[in-house]
């Protein structure tokens, strides 16, 4: 589904991302972990054609993302709050996104009604603007908006951050269902190793822009990841 080849991004001589080859099949739930500055958000931004690659390219369902816009109808994302329109209510925002994705009001209502317990009664029908919601509720609205219009690829940057524990658990279930039952390619990044290992079938570790580990998730993956990041700690202490 998503194929990355010889991709690199350089800012003023500093390479922040360098991926030789990465292939993500359809329906895989894919997790990206790494410390700050490892290149996670850079990779997602490249995937959404928000920044220009220095070399190489990403193809999404055989569409080169920096050459054509045909990947947009089946791809959706929530990267940060700047994806929200502050002066709309959550409903209006969902309808707006729905309009852009060819969904009428009834379709959108049908979808959002499935997330009633995820919203915990704090989003729909509150007559509040998105800008007046708390960070966590903004995130919930953004994540659900990314599910509108049956996308085949969903990209979520740090979806678990700012959410309360109950919502985190619900979100994990939602993401698992998407990949397993609906064949959606779900891509998430996170700093929480436990959540990622719970949700993702495959986990890639980025370090300073390079892929250093590519793991199929199994019961020992969490241990392995923890060992990996702990060893970073030791080596940096030795330096």
């Amino acid at each position: 589904m998503i194929y990355t080849k010889d991709l690199s991004k350089t800012y003023n001589g500093t390479t922040v991302l360098n991926i030789e080859e990465l292939s993500i099949p359809k329906g895989q739930s894919f997790g990206l972990v790494g410390n700050n500055g490892a290149g996670k958000t850079t990779y997602f931004s490249l995937l959404l054609d928000l920044i220009k690659p220095s070399t190489g390219r990403i193809t999404n369902n055989d569409v080169a993302v920096d050459a054509s816009e045909d990947w947009k109808p089946f791809t959706s994302a929530f990267i940060d709050e700047s994806f929200l329109i502050g002066y709309l209510t959550p409903e209006e925002y969902f309808y707006f996104i729905g309009d852009l994705r060819g969904q009428n009001k009834a379709d959108v209502d049908a979808l959002t009604s499935k997330f009633e317990d995820f919203f915990n009664g704090e989003i729909i029908g509150k007559k509040k603007y998105l800008r007046d919601l708390s960070k966590g509720n903004q995130k919930k609205a953004g994540i659900v908006a990314a599910l509108i219009g049956n996308p085949e690829v969903i990209i979520l940057d740090e979806p678990f951050a700012n959410l309360d524990p109950t919502t985190q658990i619900r979100l994990k279930q939602i993401l698992k269902d998407l990949a397993e039952k609906q064949g959606v390619t779900v891509m998430v990044s996170s700093h929480d190793l436990m959540h990622v290992t719970d949700v993702c079938e495959r986990i890639v570790v980025l370090e300073k822009g390079n892929i250093v580990k590519d793991l199929e998730t199994n019961p020992t993956t969490l241990k392995e990841l923890e060992a990996h990041f702990a060893s970073n700690l030791e080596t940096s202490e030795e330096e």
Partner: protein, 492 residues
């Protein structure tokens, strides 16, 4: 502490993407400033001769003072539109061990160094020198000079008080109009002869320098009042936790008839109606609409036909210029999202275009009563409206592709009242002056009908080539997509 602040200011100014990308605009501002300096210098040196020649039997010093009231009033009006309280991002400073009062003193002190406070010096000092050379006692003129400088500073701080009030109103011009109107009205209707009051006071100060304490006291009061306003604002909850507003939803289903651009039109209308900054811009429409009333009632202007074109473009294109020049920055807050969505750029821009065209039509229709002052005015306004639709709308959309300055709709920084200044008006000049120049030239060379025809032909040409122009403009936007995303995700 002040040293740190100055350092921060310096970095904020020169490291902002805005500065780096609009050097041309900065040069233009400097040239404009120099122009005013020269004008004021000329006034300062020449005023004495002018007054002596025009009114030989009166004391030029007294005559000059009698006009000071109007100068001060004009100064206040100018400042309201062009001078904003210096912006400082205070949030990061609040948790640091800095006294709140230090921050406020710094911001207010910085405002005293504004260009507007130095400009009068270029007129006042030469005028004083000329007076002393002419035989006036230096001991009388020097206190007068200082008194004027103090009054200039009083106006400086008075302006911020007015702006503080206007920031809380939807009709942001109301406080200014009330203050300036009251002062002017008191004088005009002889309730309180402000003109001679100000003049006599200044003369009194020059006769008895002790009176200078009165303006000094006033200055202190205005400063302290500003200090109080700002210090009250300097809490996180006033800037962070804005009051939660109940949603006012309007039925916008009529936009459906515009087909595929309907979602964007609904978004734009909500954008305009639900944000303070855009809302006060809409209120400006009335000022733009009534602009002609400043000119047309006076027979002098009714013979200057080239003014018709200017006022026509201005009053029918007021929304177009004010809204259009910030495309696509209005959407800068969520530009990344729009760019990753399944949208056609052309639809996005066409929605803005239709909105601007609608505003021109509405403003023209509302301006039809101007026919009272002569049918020529109506015809000229019609031509100007066509020109706005066909030419200016495309030009301003094209100009938008160079837009790199983010507009923060949600948050209002504690010291940021309106977020715009002199620059906004400069951009509008060519859009209005070019048609006026063309109109005036053809009107003078050929005649009124030809001049009207020229504007209409130019406008219609633009409308005919609308599709072509739009695809060209769309391409420009696509080309600068990455640059815009990058600039809009920066804070300054």
């Amino acid at each position: 502490m002040i040293k740190h602040f100055l350092n921060l200011e310096w970095k904020q100014y020169f490291r902002s993407s805005y500065w780096q990308k609009s050097i041309a605009l900065n040069i233009l501002l400097v040239l404009l400033g120099l122009y005013f300096v020269v004008m004021f210098l000329g006034l300062g040196f020449g005023l004495l001769f002018i007054l002596k020649k025009a009114l030989p039997d009166k004391d030029p010093f007294v005559v000059a003072n009698s006009f000071m009231f109007f100068w001060f009033l004009g100064d206040l009006m100018m400042r309201f539109f062009l001078q904003k309280l210096p912006v400082m991002s205070v949030k990061p400073l609040l948790t640091l061990p800095i006294k709140r009062s230090t921050i406020v003193h710094f911001v207010l002190g910085k405002s005293a160094l504004n260009f507007f406070n130095f400009l009068p010096l270029f007129a006042v000092i030469p005028f004083s020198i000329m007076l002393i050379r002419d035989g006036y006692a230096a001991s009388a003129i020097l206190p007068w000079m200082f008194a004027v400088i103090i009054v200039v500073l009083i106006i400086n701080f008075l302006n911020f008080i007015i702006e503080a009030f206007s920031a809380e109103k939807d009709l942001s011009f109301l406080p200014l109009i009330i203050v300036a109107g009251t002062l002017f009205g008191l004088d005009y209707f002889n309730v309180l002869p402000m003109k001679s009051l100000v003049g006599d006071s200044l003369v009194a100060i020059s006769n008895n320098p002790v009176y200078i304490l009165i303006p000094l006291l006033l200055l202190a009061i205005f400063y302290m009042y500003n200090f109080k306003i700002l210090k009250d604002k300097l809490f996180l909850d006033s800037s962070l936790k804005s009051k939660v507003t109940e949603v006012k939803a309007a039925d916008l289903s009529w936009t459906k008839r515009f087909g595929d651009i309907a979602p964007f039109m609904q978004l734009d209308l909500k954008l305009i109606w639900r944000n303070k900054r855009t809302k006060s811009m809409t209120m400006l429409l009335f000022i733009g609409l009534l602009y002609g009333l400043f000119f047309y009632p006076q027979p002098m202007y009714r013979d200057m036909e080239f003014m018709f074109a200017f006022i026509g473009v201005f009053s029918t294109g007021f929304f177009l210029i004010n809204f259009g020049q910030f495309i696509p920055a209005w959407d800068s807050g969520y530009y990344k999202m729009l760019m990753s969505q399944n949208i056609k750029y052309e639809q996005y821009l066409r929605s803005k275009f239709i909105l601007m065209v609608m505003s021109v039509v509405i403003l023209f229709v509302l301006g039809i009563p101007y026919v009272y002052f002569g049918w020529k005015i109506l015809i000229a306004h019609f031509a100007a409206a066509i020109y706005n639709i066909g030419v200016n709308s495309h030009v301003i959309l094209y100009g938008g592709s160079f837009n790199r300055k983010k507009i923060d709709l949600d948050k209002k920084a504690a010291f940021n009242y309106q977020g715009t200044g002199a620059v906004q008006w400069i951009i509008g000049f060519p859009l209005m002056l070019l048609p006026m120049g063309l109109f005036g030239l053809v009107n003078w060379l050929v005649g009124f009908e030809a001049a009207v025809a020229l504007l209409i032909i130019m406008g219609v040409t633009g409308i005919v080539f609308h599709k072509k122009l739009m695809s060209f403009i769309t391409k420009k936007y696509l080309d600068s997509k990455y640059k815009m995303i990058n600039a809009f995700s920066q804070d300054n």
